[in-house]
């Protein structure tokens, strides 16, 4: 363990990759490892990049990595794709678009399947960020698809959320209003090479200007990019830097990080206790028989649940 910690601190790629596997597989040793690394964390800036599937996140990221490398930063990417709900397997394809950075020793790319584990992929991401931070990466970027609650939890683990939108979303913009618009710090209209890009920009501006937008006090920058034509990338890159600088100056970044830690603690502790509860109750083994009893009206739901929880609390009182 000690050796692994040292190797990670020295930036050893193999060790970093192995540590992330431990986290993904939820090995018990990971806790000690993260705690050993924790004193060395706190230097990296973390971006979350989200948006609908196919909006060009990976393609854009490929270009952003190049920009950040030119600024001399070491960059790590975690790209999350969904696991198949049927087989539990996954095809992770984000890397394909960034593969030209594969041989650059200043870049580390890791694909992660969302799996279905307790504590969620958000917990795993939070830990992976710590490993990469301790390993000395200046910038860590999390790419995830912008749908579903877990995905939102993931980007909330970051300092700044880049939300990618594309022309031709139509009614989806309306839906976005309710959901993910709220988590975006910086808005990017990608595929600006498409006809309707300006219209989309106007729509986004409109949604952001609505009175019920809880973030109305803080203006959100909007950028137009075309990742295939390599347009607008420099402006975006500078814009992100400025935004983060501003957060820093206002002390907002500290706010954000405290909130992130709060979320993490909540998440971890409930996940941990839940796991213990499930274990003690033998939930997985017994659930079928409980279902059966309730289904056949042999037992009433609350009576059964209270009986189970009472036994659990009694047992744990001492």
């Amino acid at each position: 363990m000690k050796r692994l910690t040292e190797k990670i601190l020295s930036g050893d790629v193999r060790a970093i990759a192995r540590a992330i596997s431990w986290i993904e597989n939820d090995y018990a040793q990971k806790e000690q490892l993260i705690d050993d690394l924790y004193p060395h964390c706190g230097n990296a800036v973390v971006w979350g990049l989200t948006g609908p599937p196919g909006s060009g996140k990976s393609t854009l990221l490929n270009l952003l990595i190049a920009r950040e490398r030119m600024k001399g930063k070491r960059v790590a990417v975690i790209a999350i794709d969904p696991s198949s709900p049927f087989s539990g397997g996954a095809i992770l394809g984000d890397r394909l678009r960034m593969q030209k950075h594969s041989t650059d020793s200043g870049v580390f790319i890791r694909s992660m399947a969302s799996r279905g584990h307790l504590g969620g992929v958000a917990g795993a991401t939070a830990d992976a960020i710590k490993v990469l931070d301790a390993a000395g990466f200046d910038l860590i970027i999390i790419e995830t698809i912008g749908v579903g609650q877990t995905e939102i939890e993931v980007v909330e683990m970051t300092d700044v959320v880049l939300l990618l939108l594309v022309p031709g979303l139509g009614d989806e913009i309306q839906a976005l209003k309710a959901g993910i618009m709220e988590i975006g710090d910086i808005f990017i209209i990608n595929k600006s090479d498409k006809d309707e890009a300006m219209k989309t920009k106007a729509e986004v501006e409109y949604v952001l200007s609505l009175n019920d937008n809880p973030r109305k006090d803080r203006p959100n920058p909007i950028f137009m990019t075309s990742a295939v034509l390599n347009l607008g990338i420099d402006e975006l890159s500078t814009g992100i830097d400025l935004y983060i600088e501003e957060l820093r100056v206002n002390g907002l970044i500290e706010d954000k990080r405290r909130k992130r830690i709060a979320r993490e603690i909540r998440l971890m502790i409930t996940a941990k206790i839940r796991r213990e509860v499930e274990k003690q109750l033998g939930l997985n083994e017994r659930i079928d028989s409980w279902v059966d009893q309730v289904y056949r009206r042999k037992r009433r739901p609350y009576a059964m649940i209270n009986e189970l929880s009472d036994t659990f609390f009694k047992k744990n009182r001492t």
Binding site: V13, A17, G89, L92, S102, I109, R115
Partner: protein
């Protein structure tokens, strides 16, 4: 949490025939494995680095152009060089019987030639996953 097997599927060389590699990738996903697919025309260096960063258990190579004798051993060598001692490498494609001993000597543990079924690939993975180090 049960440990997931991670597999990098890669196409070295310049041919664009990805029907086979895509079929296997999809079938592997449907069998519950996590597959990282990196696309066509991958250099040995890029494949080796990807294998390490992704901490995969297996690397599957697909090549139909006939450049396997030059490229496969080089990929295995680089994977080992960058610390992937225990990564298991297998391959598929138009590979003449005669070349198989040479490739096996150079660390390609299984070679699936045209007509091989997905089941053979899956069996190979299942039989070898016991050997994985962590």
């Amino acid at each position: 949490m049960r440990r997931k097997i991670r597999i990098l599927m890669a196409k070295p060389g310049l041919d664009g025939h990805d029907r086979g590699v895509k079929y296997i990738s999809r079938a592997l996903r449907d069998a519950g494995y996590e597959v990282i697919y990196t696309g066509i025309r991958q250099s040995p260096e890029a494949i080796a680095h990807a294998a390490i960063q992704e901490d995969v258990d297996f690397v599957g190579l697909s090549l139909l152009s006939g450049a396997h004798n030059e490229l496969f051993p080089e990929i295995v060598r680089l994977i080992r060089k960058y610390g992937g001692e225990s990564i298991i490498v297998f391959a598929g494609g138009i590979i003449p019987e005669k070349d198989i001993p040479f490739l096996k000597e150079h660390g390609v543990e299984a070679i699936f030639t045209p007509g091989a079924s997905f089941k053979e690939v899956a069996d190979f993975i299942e039989q070898n996953k016991r050997r994985l180090s962590h």
